[in-house]
Symmetry: C3
Subunit: 263 residues, 3 copies
């Protein structure tokens, strides 16, 4: 009973996700398909890479993660399969898999070259259905990754944006705005601890006149007030209790700078 997860920018309104699932279940009827999300904004490879990174680690060994945000579909960009620890990743070689695979020390990346696994007619614009779905089914049934194609030493990586250490503390950025409007930053808890006790740190959000203290829960500040906290992925988050921080504080992924200082 293998798990195949799907993460795409296909949305929920067309036949794209359904037809991928049909292909997978036709080839691997006993696998369990799990949608991570299909609402990655069209073509936003960075966002796809981030969401995959955060979701994949909670899945059991041998899960097969298919991630498709693929503006270059049909061009010469490679199709790749990766192993990170004991999980598999399948998708285009445009960086979408890279943040997840880089979580693991023990990893391997291969080109997908066994065309006899693909659907009989491969379209130029829907490799999710015609290439990646059958390859995922092959892996879910216990097929050998090694047999899929040659090992790659070069492949496209999106580097995780690291924080900058400054004299006063550190500087990072808002990485992702979630459904609640919380701004997830690129600042991991362990970097915070390098500066000082969490309780003695101050967080300065670009454009916000006053600094924020780091709280444990949303409810520690009054409704409608801004706060910082270490979120469930282990990164500093900027939030508003009961409100949408991205709107109220004008947080923009990849833009809004966040500084952490000792009191």
């Amino acid at each position: 009973m293998s798990i195949v997860t799907l993460l795409t920018d296909f949305g929920y309104r067309d036949w794209y996700v359904g037809s991928m699932k049909g292909v997978i279940l036709g080839l691997a009827p006993h696998c369990t398909i799990v949608d991570i999300t299909h609402e990655i904004p069209p073509g936003d490879v960075l966002r796809g890479a981030l969401v995959l990174r955060e979701a994949c680690r909670f899945f059991p060994p041998l899960s097969v993660h298919v991630a498709i945000v693929d503006p270059g579909v049909g061009t010469s960009r490679k199709a790749i399969v990766a192993r990170g620890g004991n999980m598999f990743f399948v998708g285009p070689d445009n960086g979408i898999l890279s943040m997840a695979v880089e979580l693991f020390e023990d990893k391997e990346v291969r080109a997908i070259e066994r065309e006899e696994l693909f659907l009989e007619r491969v379209s130029d614009t829907f490799h999710g259905r015609d290439v990646f779905a059958p390859v995922a089914a092959f892996l879910a049934k216990g097929g050998e990754m090694m047999s899929l194609g040659r090992k790659l030493s070069e492949w496209v990586r999106i580097p995780f944006p690291e924080v900058t250490h400054t004299e006063a503390g550190l500087e990072g950025q808002v990485l992702h705005v979630d459904r609640f409007g919380n701004g997830v930053t690129n600042i991991p808890e362990k970097e915070l601890r390098k500066i000082g006790e969490i309780s003695s740190l101050r967080v300065s959000v670009e454009g916000l006149p006053h600094d924020l203290r780091i709280r444990r829960t949303y409810a520690e500040v009054p409704l409608g007030s801004a706060l910082a906290l270490v979120g469930s992925s282990g990164f500093l988050e900027i939030a508003v209790n009961g409100g949408d921080a991205s709107k109220l504080l004008h947080l923009e992924p990849g833009k809004t700078r966040i500084r952490v200082l000792l009191e």
Copy 2:
């Protein structure tokens, strides 16, 4: 083959739902996960409670319903498990489970206290993944609810808003606006029958100049016309044939008053 249903306000665009499913499937690989919805508006516990109440009763015995709309996550609010008839309910003790559990005569509520079941590191902001997902998997595998924690006699209930009987008939309200814009009220069919024959009743919608008769199907009135009918959940509904009643008639959940009178 147990069923675990999920109802949250997490939306479909982040990694939150995916990581909960990873945790559940890692612990209970043979369960079937069903999404009720993840589009409860952020923090809207009442709406979550209503949707859970309507959805849960169509599931088979031993289903485990996980419902998480949890603005107080990380505070001292309890985590609870409930049994209603032969179904299980898991979530925060803020009322979200209460309308569903109160459907059943035979019920029991317990605190979730067995911390060794939780994920190794419990975050302060994502108990869905770290607490409720592993507890749901435990129940789905046949774990004893009794072993999870002490029985509670006090727990948070959101009372179902009952109708008011007046001299002229009864008064209720719009409870929920659905995807089609239909206004589901809190007026059950059996209360209508207490006033008189359904066919001789008139429905007065706050702000609407003329009364409505109670029809059987949408198509009984011309396209674009308003009507009332007994909806599929057994409650009076206000609708517009082929249109969005909430927009056209300005229906607001919890606000718009509905009166039912004998002709």
Copy 3:
């Protein structure tokens, strides 16, 4: 392990889809339920029919496809079951199944008349839960379609809008705008080939001052430029590389005319 697919206009925010799944899994616990989509615009039978047509063919034999966009629910419109090749289709007799069923040479349509299969209390407004879900479960468990009701020779078909051949080439229309804003037309590749070599054709989009050439991939034109290509369903598509063609070129399903001419 039979597959039941669901395609509806119920959306993701209410209890409607969840309660259908509860009914199906209660009756056929071993089936795999796959959501095609629940975001068909309310009442848009044509769109539902198109999406079902494109999705269904990628599913394995014996899949049961349930499609419910049903503005006439509760009226005298029939409930039908169809077999197309070795797949089953279940839904209202309003044309929603017709484009999918018409894909198959070998087909059969029957009225659903075995009321003892339905839920005990059949509402007037939610046959998805009360009629179609139990019938789908019956088929998924291997129940005989023949036993469901009498064979129909007349049933509602939505004709697939065919292209018109003109002296200069052919004329079609935008059929569907997908999540990316691509305009999928009703012009199949084989009709293009009747006019001439794909590379020597020009595509004229209503309202667009210049003609488009037919490319193989989005990336063959600069970012932000319009192009035509044969999409993954085998139909001519109008797209903008990295952009939303429906917004930029004002494409409207069922309205925007597309002409294909020899250079």
